[in-house]
């Protein structure tokens, strides 16, 4: 993976993690907050459109800006201040969660919320208002952001939830459309060890899986189910459920107790570029069968390092290449508890349409946050990976959108590459309020993404 950003401005073909719809833009590496202001001014007078980009882990076109200027924030990677006693860090927006963990874990702190990969920047985590396996307890990332600095064409602003709530919450989950975040102050979560106590068990079918996850709301800090997306009939929704807690010193084997806080060694195997599609239907079925069978029939408790628990996929870098040139999509939706039936319907419809979901994750969400475009709301969320370009996929997902919207659910912008614009207002009823604030922050409409244009999140004039 080429993590080193390009040194100057150059034309790039930018895509999301799914690599299904790339577009060309100019990219400029942001070397400092002052440089960021210069680049914003430059974009305003040249292409007239710009967008912040982090590590490109949004699956669809959220971090693309066709024909515009992509502001590559990765060089803004400094930890500016760390208060090891209170667990508060002030960190630049291009810093990755992985790099931050390396510094905070030895000091006894952890990320308050983390997505399923550590290869995400702080800016990306705030712009998508990411959630983790503890959403039912702790909410989204932004709940732990005390302040952020936002750069817009009209200047820099310090935003906090109390002093500037409209602007703060329009930027949180704002998908980069209010401006560029250069730094944030984040409250961390205390840990006494860097290990996790993980309970693994099988869910025989969807009902059992959902029941166990519901019960885990009260009993566990972290919970998630990996679901076999191709199992049908009585096995539909069979799963491997993992429930986690941060381990205490007493949970560690005696030799480990002397050094309980060990930052992860980061080692990952690379996947070569230009592969044909290797993730095929028979492989998915075989993998799922083996994965399900490998999980213990009775609950098993073990102590793991935090990376294999939170970031199992990071062990293989660029694994998205396994889907070949055409790439893949992730369909992630949430539906309220009253419409838990939709979860089954979605699986059934995908199977009926001949789809082979390669990776499916089911989770519970707790109360929603205050940001108008924040994705999580109470209920069930399912994330489904699907190879792009397969027969019936587009129409099938269109029908699922309708089902989800009718159930007062929504799909996640950070994953989307193909929602229909007509459904956005129904899924995000506070869109209008967000647009008002966004237009105040960026009156000329400089910040725009392919996602925003496709879904008409912002007014668009080329």
């Amino acid at each position: 993976m080429s993590l080193k950003p390009p040194p100057h401005r150059e034309r790039v073909l930018a895509s999301g993690f799914g690599r299904a719809s790339a577009s060309a833009a100019t990219t400029a590496a942001v070397s400092s907050p002052d440089h960021l202001d210069e680049l914003i001014a430059l974009a305003a007078t040249t292409s007239g459109r710009a967008l912040a980009r982090g590590l490109g882990r949004a699956y669809g076109d959220a971090a693309q800006c066709a024909g515009g200027l992509l502001l590559d924030c990765r060089p803004l990677d400094q930890i500016l201040e760390m208060d090891p006693a209170r667990g508060v860090v002030r960190v630049q927006a291009g810093c990755s969660l992985r790099a931050l963990l390396r510094e905070i874990v030895p000091a006894g702190w952890f990320l308050p919320v983390t997505p399923g990969t550590a290869e995400v920047t702080i800016g990306g985590a705030i712009a998508a208002d990411v959630h983790g396996k503890n959403h039912h307890r702790d909410g989204t990332f932004s709940a732990f952001v005390d302040a952020l600095v936002l750069h817009t064409p009209t200047g820099r602003r310090n935003l906090t939830a109390t002093d500037s709530p409209e602007q703060f919450f329009a930027t949180v989950a704002g998908m980069g459309l209010t401006g560029v975040i250069s730094q944030a102050t984040v409250r961390l979560a205390p840990i006494t060890t860097s290990k996790m106590v993980v309970e693994t068990r099988r869910g025989a079918d969807l009902e059992a899986t959902m029941e166990m996850l519901e019960r885990a709301d009260a009993s566990h800090h972290y919970s998630v189910a990996w679901v076999d997306g191709v199992a049908r009939g009585r096995s539909l929704g069979r799963s491997v459920i993992t429930l986690g807690e941060h381990a205490g010193v007493e949970d560690l084997a005696p030799p480990q107790r002397t050094r309980p806080l060990v930052p992860a060694r980061s080692r990952s195997l690379p996947v070569p570029p230009l592969l044909p599609r290797l993730i095929t239907a028979p492989l998915i079925s075989a993998f799922n069968e083996a994965y399900f069978r490998r999980a213990p029939r009775r609950a098993k408790r073990e102590v793991l390092d935090y990376p294999p628990y939170f970031y199992p996929l990071d062990a293989l870098s660029d694994w998205n290449r396994l889907y070949g040139r055409r790439g893949f999509l992730q369909y992630q939706y949430v539906v309220p508890d009253e419409r838990a039936d939709v979860v089954r319907l979605v699986f059934e419809r995908l199977i009926a349409a001949g789809q082979h979901p390669s990776l499916v994750v089911l989770k519970r969400f707790g109360p929603a946050g205050a940001a108008p475009l924040s994705f999580p709301r109470p209920g069930w969320t399912v994330a489904i990976d699907l190879a792009a370009g397969t027969e019936n996929l587009a129409e099938t997902l269109d029908r699922l959108d309708e089902l989800v919207a009718a159930a007062n659910g929504r799909v996640y912008f950070a994953k989307d590459g193909r929602l229909r614009p007509e459904l956005v207002a129904a899924m995000y009823p506070e869109l209008g309020r967000w647009q008002t604030t966004r237009n105040e922050l960026d009156p000329e409409g400089l910040f725009v993404s392919d996602l925003a244009r496709r879904l008409k999140l912002v007014a668009w004039e080329p």
Partner: protein, 255 residues
């Protein structure tokens, strides 16, 4: 923007009254299509196609004048259409006219005219649109070549050679667009015999097909990201064979 399933929200058809293009747009209208410009010569035909698209729920539909042989106008047309549509997600090049007359029936002017209609004109127009899409940083070009372009036949060597020229032009343009990291895709469509107004009155060739089948194949090609599609699919292997038949035999094939 084209979405991750390859579906456009806006489209331009060059040769806007084409039956094949109309069949493609009718399918795209069921997906994401909401803005269309039909560019062509025949005002009445264009007007009818416009109302068909409106009836299918496409919100914004307009017709503009386009003559493929009027090369001076092409670049201006591309930018005019771009500013009208906002963003051009898809350009369909459907201009063409079959020419089956041969050595004794055609004047030199008519030969030049046919080649202009089927090759030079479309190629020149395509380049203007390719530039617009490249500066957008995204977009898809779909070009109707023909099975006749795969190997030029005695029976229609003027049309066939012009299509072969266009086909080769598009292959080169594909490589150029890819090399330049343009974000622009080009898909070549090579139909066999299709029942449309272009072929009315002709004796159907083997594996003759309908516009609807071609449209399905084009939409599927947009979804899969194909560089070229042969329709009907059964002609795919045949198009490979066609290249391999020895000349003496090829020459003798019935027209």
């Amino acid at each position: 923007m084209n979405d991750a399933t390859g579906m456009p929200a806006s489209a331009v058809v060059l040769g806007g009254d084409s039956e094949l293009a109309a069949a493609v747009l009718a399918k795209l209208a069921k997906r994401r299509l909401e803005r269309v410009v039909l560019a062509g010569r025949n005002e009445q035909g264009l007007a009818r196609r416009c109302s068909e698209l409106s009836a299918l729920g496409v919100g914004q539909v307009n017709a503009v004048h386009f003559d493929a042989t009027d090369h001076q106008r092409h670049d201006a047309l591309a930018s005019e259409i771009a500013s009208e549509l906002g963003d051009i997600d898809l350009v369909v090049m459907a201009t063409g006219a079959l020419e089956r007359r041969g050595i004794d029936e055609l004047t030199s002017a008519e030969v030049a005219q046919s080649i202009d209609t089927n090759f030079t004109g479309p190629a020149a127009a395509l380049l203007g649109f390719a530039r617009v899409l490249r500066s957008q940083g995204h977009g898809t070009l779909v070009v109707f070549s023909s099975l006749a372009a795969v190997r030029v036949r005695r029976a229609n060597f003027v049309y066939g050679s012009a299509k072969a020229g266009l086909d080769g032009f598009c292959q080169g343009l594909q490589d150029e667009l890819e090399h330049a990291k343009s974000g622009v895709r080009l898909m070549i469509v090579r139909p066999g015999f299709v029942h449309t107004k272009m072929t009315t009155g002709m004796r159907p060739q083997p594996l003759a097909t309908e516009a609807d089948v071609v449209a399905d194949a084009v939409v599927r090609g947009l979804e899969t990201g194909a560089g070229a599609v042969v329709v009907p699919a059964a002609l795919g292997p045949l198009s490979v064979l066609m290249r391999l038949v020895p000349r003496p035999l090829w020459r003798r094939l019935p027209s």
